[in-house]
Amino acid sequence: MNKRAQFDKVSLSFETPKGRLKVVEDVSYDINDGDFIAVIGPSGCGKTTMMSMLAGFQKPTTGKVLFDGRPVAGPGPERGVIFQEYGVFPWLTVKQNIAFGLTLNANRVPTAERDATCDHYLGLMGLSDFANSYPKHLSGGMRQRLAIARAYAVKPQFLLMDEPFGALDAQTRSNMQNLLLKVLETEGKTVMLITHSVEEAIYLASRIVVVTARPARIKQIIDVPFGYPRDESIQERPEFAELRSHIRQLVMDEYRAQQAQMRPVSFSE
């Protein structure tokens, strides 16, 4: 299999007035073409930092983060990022948001092609009726769909998602998960998803990376025994329940470790 992204003995720490704060420690794993990796761990453990290094916003202190065999030097359109806060541009209409990436020098396309791409994603994301609306008129779920459409429009080979559905209500969240699966089916992308929901990780991912409380280390990498396409029925399967209780246990252990750690704020020198 073709290795898309590699974390090679990656550590990240920074100086604080109280000493050196380790955020990520000695993390190594590969993400292959077509993988859907879910990274799960207690909140504040450093999983977003992992994604942020692959996205190119932060550099590892030691070790290497590689994309297509080359060290990540900065953000780029081949690695689409879906932010937790959506980040849809409020001054642009829905359609202009989707078109934004395609108007840039890095991925400029002829106007006709741009319109076609916009229409395609407007339809796919159920936003056609809002093409000329401003984001202020959209609900949270619609803003998230818009953010996904905008990231997809520039055809990234790799999609990084930072708790993308965290702020949505249960119903919208489940709709968005199904939509994501459907979109992946047709568009075929490699995904790294940061989440704190065990169900979400199992339902969507092909592989789950469980990380420890800060500093984030790899606790276990688990293969999810379900193929694609998937639907909600897998959530009724005994393997799903088994896997869920196994991962929950792992995450709970780390959560407790984190709580214990937090009482006296611990900084290693």
Partner: protein
Amino acid sequence: MNGAGVRRFGLGLLPWFGAILLWYAVRWSGFVNVSLIPAPHQVAAKFFELLTREGLLIDIFASTRRVFLGVALGILVAVPVGFLLGWYRPARTFADPMINFFRALPPIALIPLVIVYFGVDELAKLVILFYASFFSGVIVMYEGVSQITPLYIRVAQTLGANQAEIFRKVIIPLTVPHILTALRVALGVAWATLVASELIAAQRGLGAMIQNASTYFLLDVIYVGIICIGLIALIMDLILRKITARLLVWQDRAIA
């Protein structure tokens, strides 16, 4: 105009009627010497007299032009300076105390120095108005720009935007609201400073008119001058608000 529009217009007009009634009431109450308060209708008569015989329009034009030029120049400089200060933290640390020092100085206190260095002509008045607009505008600009969230820049980067594109397509649209606010604030401050600037040997202008009238105790002329300044400032602000609403349709406002 639809029903709601008429109602809004009426609602906006109501306090003015209230103010005029109050004006008459104070005059007739007997608490204040009547010769010290010209009646609204006397002021109105004076207004038409000044308009038709004394060239009030020339004064209005002179003052409006000064304010307009002062604000335009002040904001033209305040936008890039305020932007740099808001964007680069070291620049702010460097310039912030200075700006706050100069901002605190009332322009009227600077008039003697302005006369010494810039004379008593049009330039001196412009310098005062420029000073007032620049310092009020620059603060609004850099406070606004320093609050721009880095999220949108990150999003643009992940979509492949280069530095120039980020500036043109993300930072400028995010800066426009602050430029418009700076303009509104500067316009208000400039009108407030106008009378002070026209203390400098002005021949014409609403401030000069008020100064001259005060020498001869022409209270009705003073009232006309004050009302004119207020009205023109109000009209300019309304125009600017219309432009703002047009440019910033995308903004999420609690009250439309």
